[in-house]
């Protein structure tokens, strides 16, 4: 087997670690740890973007990496930590399915994602085309994380993890979207988080808790 160049090896390793982090987020019960894992995911993405930028010489990937660092590694986790402290939500201990079951479903989801990404990888011309499957897997596992959670904060972290997966997918398939789109997406994510911050306080004021079982009252015959 001829070995790959070292930067591709590191990129493969980063992709595998990203997948591992999504699983870690799927099974994590402490919300503070969940946000830290999200920050770590962002950091890995930043390193991967820098490596790709160095490898392909694309200028705008450097800007992209800086944006990821500023937004996903520094600002958003800080904002979320502040929210956690002020709202006092630290635990999310009642998942929909028990941890082992969730993990097994996660494995099935990953297999499905790899199958889904197969035709796209075959057509891609980037060096990182094999990681498209991992990006789709990260997206679907984030989706699963959102479904199996009870606390609003964990759903938000799952949502942000999904954005990370989308970003990684764009990078693996096409070396990133055009800069203006990436800026727009980053702006959207930022504004979404700010809106959420306000939203959480409104929820807490009304319900005294951020548990989502308070959100099951609107039904069809209302």
């Amino acid at each position: 087997m001829n070995p790959l160049s070292w930067d591709l090896q590191v990129l493969n390793m980063l992709a595998a670690l990203l997948l591992l982090l999504s699983f870690a987020m799927l099974s994590q019960r402490r919300i503070v740890a969940l946000v830290d894992l999200l920050a770590l995911q962002g950091a890995l993405l930043c390193i991967a973007t820098l490596l790709l930028a160095w490898r392909t010489g694309n200028r705008h990937l450097y800007v992209s990496a800086a944006l990821t660092l500023g937004l996903k590694v520094i600002f958003l986790p800080w904002l979320l930590h502040r929210l956690i402290r002020r709202l006092g939500v630290y635990w999310d201990t009642e998942p929909l399915l028990n941890i082992t079951g969730t993990m097994l479903v996660g494995v099935l989801v990953v297999i499905f994602a790899f199958g889904l990404a197969q035709p796209i990888s075959a057509l891609a011309s980037t060096a990182t085309r094999n990681s498209i499957g991992i990006a789709v897997a990260v997206i679907l596992i984030a989706f699963l994380t959102m479904i199996t959670r009870r606390k609003a904060m964990s759903q938000v972290v799952g949502f942000l993890s999904m954005e990370n997966g989308l970003f990684f997918g764009a990078m693996s398939a096409t070396y990133g979207m055009p800069m203006v789109v990436e800026l727009g997406v980053a702006l959207d994510v930022l504004v979404a988080m700010l809106v959420l911050g306000v939203f959480f306080f409104q929820i807490r004021e009304q319900f005294d808790s951020l548990d989502l079982k308070n959100f099951e009252s609107l039904r069809e015959d209302q």
């Binding site: 590191v10 591992l20 941890i99 494995v107 790899f114 094999n130 991992i134």
Partner: protein
């Protein structure tokens, strides 16, 4: 397959049998150092085994033939496993006799006999231990098998010696699949050898025992053989780990120099591995028994992730 090879093979087996208690002693010594206690001598397990051999065996009245046979079967299985695993060389005769999946089967045989023997006398604790052991085994075995599958996929063979040769011939590269399976293998090692966080080998509280509970009814030479077999099991697992993940240094021909170098390198690897094991044990707390399946599910997950990453990324 000349006489030299067979002599080396025999020496290898004797080395394994002889060195296993030292490994156990070393792990205990490191643990004591980490916990700021004064450590027992590294040869303490030998003294324990010798003491047991001098005693008279006391066997329950309703114990069957199985109860008496089990220690020999278990010990024999471990010795055979030690012969199969390429701990110092990959070209010795018995090493080529069976592949990795047969090895897993051999380890399973030992576990089955151990559990049956514990249930044989009919005490509550024996049955308790047997059930727990089978639960751990039921979950750990698939994880171990998936680890073997991944490595077999990487090397296109299931024979451990050839796997070791091929992996050591490669230049160093970052393989995420091997990294994940290494983590999975370490977790399985902890579970199968009754180390913290799955089981406390030094516990005396019966309700928290898994492995110890299986040995409660044994005494004298039977107990000595069982304890020796447990030490040998740890040695075997460590050697499997080295063969797959750290294969450099294994002798691939039967040159005496290569063999001597390989033995020395094995000593170094075991020293470091023993210290690492002691570190893991000191830093973790023992899991409650009903959480052990979660631990093993995580190991299985790591192994399956390694498999999927290997299939997708080809690395």
């Amino acid at each position: 397959m000349n006489a030299f090879d067979w002599t080396m093979q025999l020496l290898g087996i004797l080395l394994a049998i002889g060195a296993a208690p030292v490994l156990l002693g070393w792990v205990n010594k490191c643990r004591a150092w980490l916990q700021n206690k004064s450590a027992p001598s590294i040869l303490q397990p030998y003294r324990g085994i010798r003491k047991l051999f001098h005693k008279d065996a006391v066997i329950a009245q309703n114990a069957s033939r199985l109860f008496r046979l089990a220690p020999y079967v278990v010990f024999g299985a471990m010795v055979t496993a030690a012969a199969i695993i390429p701990s110092v060389a990959t070209r010795l005769p018995i090493t080529r006799a069976a592949d990795a999946i047969a090895l897993v089967g051999l380890l399973a045989t030992a576990r089955v006999f151990l559990s049956l023997a514990a249930m044989d006398v009919g005490t509550a604790f024996g049955t308790l231990g047997a059930r727990r052991e089978m639960m751990i085994g039921f979950l750990a075995e698939p994880a171990l098998l998936v680890v073997i599958f991944v490595v077999s996929l990487t090397c296109a063979t299931t024979a451990l010696p050839i796997i070791a040769e091929r992996l050591s011939a490669q230049s160093f590269s970052l393989n995420p699949s091997l990294a994940f399976t290494a983590v999975a293998f370490t977790m399985v090692l902890l579970a199968e050898n009754a180390r913290i966080p799955v089981d406390n080998p030094a516990t005396h509280l019966e309700l928290t025992m898994i492995h110890e509970a299986l040995l409660l009814e044994y005494s004298a030479r039977h107990l000595a053989l069982m304890e020796w077999a447990a030490a040998l099991k740890l040695f075997n697992y460590a050697c499997i780990g080295f063969a797959v993940f750290i294969p450099w240094g294994l002798a691939t021909s039967d040159a005496p120099l290569g063999l001597a170098l390989s033995v020395m390198l094995l000593g170094v690897k075991l020293t470091i591995a023993g210290a690492a094991l002691a570190l893991i044990e000191t830093l973790s707390a023992k899991l409650r028994v009903f959480r052990a399946p979660e631990f093993l599910a995580t190991a299985f997950l790591f192994a399956v992730l390694g498999l999927l990453v290997r299939l997708l990324l080809g690395a």
